[in-house]
Every structure is written in structure tokens, then in C-alpha cells.
């Protein structure tokens, strides 16, 4: 007796019940949950982010469509899944707000073509495409990537939307930008610590706010709010964000207690840089994250640990992208060895061989 080929649609059997919302709807909800953070960022840092997002999304869609056509996949239904949009938005969120147009476009190319489609498209990419795109940009264009915009409150004459677009499409250029850029709080922190300055002295600089970096603290809180909604809607599970944030806080707390003059407090790390964005929106990328509950806990903890290590002792001010990419390497291992115990099994069976 030969079984039906389950890939034939007419052979698909039970359940005969309304199917769950599709991948497209999941992606729409993820983007919706990003809106508070994006809004906070635009309000506090200016129009640059919106220009970045627009450029990155447009470029990602074009690259995705081209690659799908080349690979002979149904272009429309795969474009409609929204995964390219999410990747582009996440990438744009990591770029400096005042960036020349080719930065988001090149990043989208690396993310979509290099990190996603060349590996087989949706579901098959081993690394988080947005972070792969960002990491390559960071290595290739360190100057452009470290030119961060000051919060609007610290700028003399913030550019309006038209000026921002003109700046971006003009390909950048340092003219007039000096007054609005400066080292990020994380950057300032590491330089200060390197120079032997006391924490109180460093934190007195204008780029710091009450809780963490000025502006970024509110952006982080907004991403946290959106992330909590995603967890509540069960779009993402709590495991990765909770274990990542808990680990980061714990390690930062221990270091801070041991040397309060040299190590910033846990709250600073939780609300600084890309922490909340990373915890709820980047590390939780289903395709590249661990999938078992225990695997997710270890994966999240690893990211939290690596973020702290890179921030405190590594060569880059923030470490979210590299932490996510590095932990991505461990996913096949985590998924194989941290499997849940099958109901009724006396012990989890790890023997596998894959």
C-alpha cells in the first residue's frame, strides 16, 4: 500500500479547520510591533531613520523579486510573505539615521541576496539576514557606520525631512554633518573607561540620559513595549528575550558590583544600544534561532553574554549583531542536543547522528 504524496495539495488531509494566520500576517504583526520604537526614534533623532527604512525596504523588495525570478520561484506569493520587509526594517534600524542612500541599499543587497536567497530563501538561511547585512557593512564601512546622529535635543539646527532626503540621495558627504554627529553613548563609555575616567564623569556627558543613552533609553523602552505585545500575542515565545535580557542584566550586575567605577549598571545595558530591539525582534528571528524551549534559553543566554563581552571588552561599541551571528552558529547543535523529553519517555534521547 503506497501512501499519498503529502505535498500534493489534494491529498492533504485533516485537520479540516480554519488554518492559522499565515507567515505574511505574522510578519505584518512584527512590523506593527516595531512602530512604537520607530516612532520614538524619529521623534528623538529626526527623519533619517524613515528615509533609511524606505530605501532599505524598496531595495530589499527589488532584490528579493529579482532573486525569486532567477531561482524560478513564485515571485508574488513569496514577496507577500513579508519576510524581506522585516529584514529590511531591522537592518535600517541598525544603521546611522543620517546615512547616504547606498548604505541601506548595499546592506539590503547583502542581507537579501547574500545571506538569504543564495542559501535557498525563506526558511533556509542559516544566519540572520539583517544582522549579516549589518555586520558586513560595519566591517566594510566602519567610518560611515560609526557616524551616529545626536539626539535632536543636542543638535543646533536639525535637518527637516527634505534636507534629510537630499542628504541621503546626495550620497552623504561630511559637509554640515559634523554638528549633528557624535560618538554614541556606548562608544563614549568605552573610550571613557579606556582613558581611565570614572563612571560618574563619563555619565555626566550630554549624550547620556537618566537611565542610559539620551534618547536611546526611550527608544529601547518603546521596543520593549512592542516586544511584550508580540509575546502576549504568542507571535514570539518568551524564552529568548527573557533569557537574553536576564543574562545581560546578571553579567552587567556582577561586573557593576565588582567595579562600579569601570562597569556601567545593568539598566544602562538593558536600555542602551540595540538591546531591546535585539532581544525581541532580532534574536527571535524564527528561521535562525534555536527552536526547542531549552535551546532557546541557552541561545538567548549566549547572546546576552556575548553582547556584554563585546561591549565591555570587544572591539566594537555594541555587540548585538555579532552576538546573534555567533550564536547562530550553535543553533544546529542546540536543536539536536536540547530536545524536550518526549511525552512518556523516561529520558530525553539525544542520540541522533545529524
Amino acid at each position: 500500500m503506497k501512501a499519498h504524496d503529502p505535498l500534493r495539495v489534494d491529498a492533504a488531509g485533516a485537520p479540516y479547520i480554519t488554518p492559522a494566520p499565515g507567515v505574511g500576517r505574522v510578519m505584518v504583526l512584527v512590523v506593527a510591533a516595531l512602530v512604537p520604537g520607530i516612532a520614538a526614534h524619529v521623534a528623538l533623532f529626526g527623519w533619517g531613520l524613515l528615509v533609511n527604512i524606505t530605501l532599505a525596504v524598496a531595495a530589499a523588495l527589488v532584490f528579493e523579486a529579482l532573486m525569486l525570478a532567477i531561482r524560478g520561484r513564485p515571485v508574488v506569493s513569496f514577496l507577500a510573505d513579508g519576510s524581506a520587509v522585516v529584514t529590511a526594517v531591522l537592518l535600517a534600524l541598525c544603521l546611522p539615521p543620517m546615512a547616504p542612500w547606498w548604505l541601506p541599499v548595499t546592506g539590503a543587497f547583502i542581507a537579501i541576496v547574500g545571506a538569504k536567497q543564495l542559501y535557498g530563501g525563506l526558511g533556509y538561511n542559516p544566519f540572520n539576514p539583517a544582522m549579516a547585512g549589518y555586520a558586513v557593512l560595519l566591517i566594510a564601512f566602519p567610518l560611515e557606520l560609526s557616524t551616529r546622529t545626536l539626539p535632536l535635543a543636542l543638535q543646533q539646527a536639525p535637518p527637516d525631512l527634505a534636507a534629510t532626503i537630499a542628504y541621503s540621495l546626495g550620497g552623504g558627504g561630511a559637509a554640515g554633518l559634523d554638528a549633528m554627529t557624535a560618538a554614541t553613548p556606548l562608544d563614549r563609555l568605552r573610550t571613557g573607561v579606556g582613558l581611565g575616567q570614572a563612571m560618574a564623569e563619563i555619565r555626566a556627558a550630554p549624550v547620556f540620559g537618566a537611565l542610559a543613552g539620551r534618547g536611546m533609553e526611550w527608544v529601547n523602552l518603546a521596543f520593549l513595549a512592542g516586544g511584550v505585545v508580540l509575546v502576549a500575542l504568542r507571535i514570539i515565545s518568551w524564552h529568548i528575550p527573557v533569557s537574553m535580557l536576564a543574562t545581560l542584566a546578571a553579567v552587567a550586575g556582577i561586573a557593576h558590583l565588582a567595579g562600579p567605577e569601570h562597569y556601567a549598571d545593568p539598566l544602562f545595558h538593558l536600555l542602551g544600544g540595540a538591546t531591546m530591539l535585539g532581544a525581541f525582534f532580532i534574536a527571535t528571528d524564527p528561521v535562525t534561532a534555536a527552536t526547542t524551549p531549552a535551546g532557546k534559553l541557552v541561545y538567548g543566554a549566549g547572546i546576552g553574554l556575548l553582547i556584554y563581552a563585546i561591549r565591555a571588552w570587544g572591539g566594537y561599541p555594541d555587540g548585538v549583531a555579532f552576538a546573534v551571528l555567533l550564536m547562530g552558529l550553535t543553533v544546529p547543535l542546540l536543536d539536536t542536543y536540547l530536545r524536550p523529553r518526549i511525552f512518556g519517555a523516561r529520558r530525553a534521547r539525544v542520540r541522533d547522528g545529524s
Partner: protein, 511 residues
């Protein structure tokens, strides 16, 4: 949820019980013909004991159980056997099995197959034999011969009566518990004696308060009637969460004991029978009536008058649909069982069997089914899996045809409940994949078994040939020696015979 255990995964499904739920159990007029398959259960098919042309009364034995795990079949209508031949079964689709076909002759009076028994007087063996003779199988859908469950090789502490009908739409057990609660409770008493359990838990989902109340009333009435203390029977309401009625899930919910992988509830001291099965046990013991009919829910948006019907086994589905007012939609999809675990029927000409709890009628969807997208490894399937499996990994290996990986990932533990497929945002028909992989694995197992057998045969043949060859050579050598000997030293006949007869032991052992 007090005193109960929460099983992993599961889904809260929208209830759709209203349409068939509230009414009485409607008797179905005997159809002109019934088709009684000899295999309506797990295990060996029954052996027919009637001939074509023979007249049979309702309840008369037409096929006897062929093995320990088997079940007898009885005439469900009075009439004449007109055919013993192959007809297509509802499960699995497309497979034909031998059926005894009976054409009705109008006689509706019930022939009691057996004398009623007093469950307090009869011996345990008599009672068990009665359940076996009545052809009772699990009526919840699994269709495991019940008598085979009732001789557990370990002490049983808890008898569980499963009234947890967790599939949306299905209400046959609900109707039975509401309208015939005393039959369920009486049957439970018989079963308690049979398995010598200390207590009985009758589990009902908390979305069936009327059924729970009716059962409690029946227990109270029993206690009031009985002069002696009655056995410990408790009605337990369990949370409505699919698949709460799965045997392993229910045993866990009630006792906190996990049925071992690949094992059965008796291994943790529990015997579990469906409420409908329990009522059938009662009928077999108290009324001497074998299993000739069952309650079937006919429901769904495509049926005119949904309801629960008492249906003679072997009734064509078409006859049942007509009794329920016919279908409303033009293109009709028929599903036997519930929407989560049921199977599509290719035709309404197939028949109601012992395991048929529901005929679900839906209009065929006029929109294309959602496109199957690649797995994004979101893990929702794993979160929903009540067996704690990783459907995303099973899918990966099933799709990649790396079948040997499926065993450690627990493919055999999959209960095909459909939770994973329902929550999948990529709309991958996961259960279909797993069924397909299971049949592939079984195929391989069979092939490997055959290959091993044939290899063993070949090895044995080679060994035999080798031994014959060596014996031949030894004889030849002996003859040669015998021929050579007279020239040097003449040997006696006796010596030659000795050499010839002695098997070449040393040579054989060394080869």
C-alpha cells in the same frame, strides 16, 4: 484546575457543538442493506460463520473473533445474507475489505443473542467472555477490541471512563451521557469488577456540564438504591483543551502518570475505556445485546438537520445523510470523524463501522487552499504538540526522506492529533507528512525483515552446500586413500567404511 495535571501543548479550539448537541438520540430506521466489514477493529479480521442465502436475526453472530485481538461481528438488521465480498472501507480510504452484506426483510424485532447476566453474580471470566462475544471495540474511534484490555497483567488502581469528547462538532458521547447516564455508570461497575480497580473516574470536559450533572445524578441514584456501600465512582470535569480526550493525555490529566512511550495505560495501573464503549458493555451484560448499533453524530455546515442518531452498524453513509435531511451545499465534503483527526470520505457509499463517531459535512471550499510556504522554524508546532515532539524536525527529515532520523525524533509517538498542522503559519500539512512517513517506515521495516529472512535462508543454503561439498571431497579423498592403500599396505574393509562414514568434522569446523 485542582488535583489535575496539565498535559503539554494542546489547543483551545472554538466549540461547534451547538448544531448537533441538544436534541435527543434519534433512532435510525434500518437501511435496506447493511455492509458489515469483517475488520472494523485493530487486529485480526473476524471469520464469517454464515453463508450467502442464510436468514439472520438482528443480533445474530455473522463472524467470530479470529484471534485474541479481534472482535466478533453481529447482524445489525434482520434479513438475509446476500453477499460476502469486498467493499470499500471508510478507513483508510481506498482499501477494500471483506464484508457480510445483509438485505433487510422488514423484521425489526431484536433477537437477544445471549441471556442477560447479573453482574454481581456472574464470574469475572463470564463477564469478560460476554464482552468479547458481544464484539465490543473502543467506540471513541480507536476501535481496539475491548476484551483484550480487560485482562491486564498488572494491578489496576484506576478505571477511567473517557467522556472527554474533545473534537469540535462531535457530540455522540455527550448525547449518550446526557440521555443514558445510568447505562454508562452500570457499565463502569461491570468494568470495575473486571479489572479489579480501586476507583473509577468518569472524565467529562468542562464544556459539557449537562452530561456531568446527569452522570453525577446516576451515581447518586445508584448509591441511594444500593443497600451496600457502592464502589468509588467520581465524575471529574477536565479542562476543555484539545486533545484532552487522547488516552495518554487523559491518563496524565487525571493521575499525573505518563504512559510510557509505545506503551499502554495498564503499565501505569490504569485502564481507560470510552463512555460509549462502557454503555455497550452494559448492554452486553444486562441486556445480552451484542454491539449492533452505535450513536453517530451527523453535523457540519453542509447538513440540513444535524443530530445524533442510533445507527445500525454497516449502514451506508448515504442512508444516514438522507435521514439527517440531506446536504445543503452543492459540492459536499464528507469527513468521517472530527475536523481535527477525521478522514475525508471519497464516497457516501461507504458504511458506518464500529469506530464511526461522526460524519462531518462541509461545503467544499470555493477558495483555493492557502499556499504551502517553507517552514520558518517558528516552533509553534512544537509548542502545540501534546506529545512534546518537534514537528519541525520531523517534517525536515520526512521531507528530506532521511527516514532513519525519524525514529529518535519520535515519529512513532505522534498521535496525529493535528495540533501542529492547525497552528503552522506556513500551512504545511504536517500530519499528512507524518502519516506518509509512518507508512514509508513500516514499508522499510517490512522490506528489511524480508531481506533478513531471505539472507538467513541464503546463508543456511550456502552452509548446507558447503557442508555437502566438503563431505563429497572427504569421501573422494577417503576413496583415493583406499585405492592407494592396497599398494602399500592392504586395509581391511572395516577401516575403509570407517573413513567414509566419518563426517569431515575438522574441515567443517575450520571453514
Amino acid at each position: 484546575m485542582k488535583g489535575l495535571w496539565r498535559f503539554p501543548g494542546g489547543l483551545r479550539l472554538a466549540g461547534a457543538k451547538g448544531s448537533s448537541g441538544d436534541g435527543p438520540i434519534l433512532p435510525l430506521a434500518p437501511p435496506p442493506r447493511v455492509y458489515l466489514p469483517l475488520r472494523q477493529h485493530v487486529g485480526a479480521p473476524a471469520r464469517p460463520v454464515v453463508e450467502v442465502g442464510q436468514a439472520v436475526a438482528r443480533g445474530e453472530l455473522v463472524a467470530e473473533a479470529g484471534a485474541f485481538v479481534s472482535a466478533a461481528v453481529h447482524a445489525s438488521i434482520a434479513g438475509r445474507v446476500v453477499e460476502i465480498g469486498d467493499h470499500e472501507l471508510p478507513h483508510p480510504p481506498g482499501v477494500a475489505e471483506t464484508c457480510v452484506v445483509i438485505a433487510g426483510e422488514g423484521g425489526e424485532e431484536e433477537a437477544r443473542a445471549e441471556v442477560p447476566l447479573d453482574p454481581d453474580e456472574a464470574t469475572v471470566e463470564t463477564l469478560r467472555e460476554r464482552v468479547r462475544a458481544a464484539g465490543i471495540v473502543g467506540l471513541g474511534g480507536a476501535a481496539f477490541p475491548s476484551a483484550a484490555k480487560l485482562k491486564p497483567s498488572r494491578p489496576i488502581h484506576t478505571l477511567v471512563i473517557n467522556g472527554v469528547e474533545c473534537e469540535p462538532y462531535i457530540t455522540c458521547d455527550d448525547a449518550l451521557m446526557r440521555h443514558r447516564p445510568e447505562a454508562v455508570i452500570r457499565g463502569a461497575l461491570v468494568l470495575l469488577r473486571l479489572v479489579a480497580a480501586e476507583r473509577c473516574l468518569v472524565a467529562v470536559e468542562d464544556n459539557k456540564p449537562a452530561a456531568a450533572a446527569a452522570l453525577r445524578e446516576a451515581v447518586a441514584a445508584l448509591a441511594a438504591r444500593s443497600p451496600e456501600p457502592v464502589p468509588d465512582i467520581a465524575v471529574v470535569e477536565v479542562p476543555t483543551r484539545f486533545p484532552a480526550g487522547g488516552e495518554k493525555q487523559l491518563v496524565w490529566t487525571l493521575t499525573g502518570r505518563a504512559v510510557p512511550r509505545g506503551g499502554l495505560p495498564y503499565e501505569v495501573g490504569v485502564v481507560c475505556l470510552n463512555a460509549g464503549t462502557t454503555a455497550a458493555v452494559d448492554a452486553a451484560v444486562h441486556d445480552g445485546r451484542p454491539l449492533v448499533s452505535r450513536v453517530v453524530t451527523v453535523t457540519g455546515p453542509g447538513i440540513r438537520r444535524p443530530g445524533n442518531f442510533e445507527v445500525p452498524l454497516g449502514t451506508p453513509v448515504r442512508h444516514l445523510l438522507e435521514a439527517a435531511g440531506g446536504t445543503t451545499a452543492k459540492a459536499v465534503e464528507l469527513v468521517m470523524g472530527g475536523p481535527m483527526m477525521g478522514r475525508r470520505l471519497e464516497t457516501a457509499d461507504t458504511m458506518v463501522v464500529k469506530g464511526t463517531n461522526c460524519i462531518l459535512v462541509t461545503p467544499r471550499p470555493d477558495i483555493a487552499p492557502p499556499r504551502v510556504m517553507p517552514c520558518i522554524r517558528c516552533g509553534r508546532c512544537a509548542a502545540a504538540c501534546p506529545m512534546n515532539l518537534l514537528p519541525q524536525q520531523l517534517y525536515w527529515h520526512a521531507r528530506g526522506r532521511t527516514f532513519d532520523k525519524l525514529e529518535p525524533y519520535g515519529l512513532k509517538d505522534c498521535i496525529e492529533c493535528g495540533c501542529c498542522a492547525v497552528v503552522c503559519p506556513s500551512h504545511i500539512p504536517l500530519v499528512s507528512f507524518f502519516r506518509y512517513a509512518k507508512t514509508e517506515l513500516a514499508d522499510r521495516e517490512r522490506r528489511r525483515h524480508r531481506a533478513e529472512e531471505s539472507r538467513a535462508r541464503t546463508d543456511a543454503r550456502n552452509a548446507r552446500l558447503e557442508q555437502q561439498r566438503q563431505e563429497r571431497e572427504a569421501r573422494k579423498a577417503a576413496r583415493k586413500a583406499a585405492r592407494a592403500r592396497p599398494r602399500s599396505a592392504p586395509a581391511s574393509d572395516e577401516a575403509v567404511e570407517d573413513t567414509d562414514a566419518a563426517p569431515p568434522r575438522a574441515a567443517g569446523g575450520a571453514s
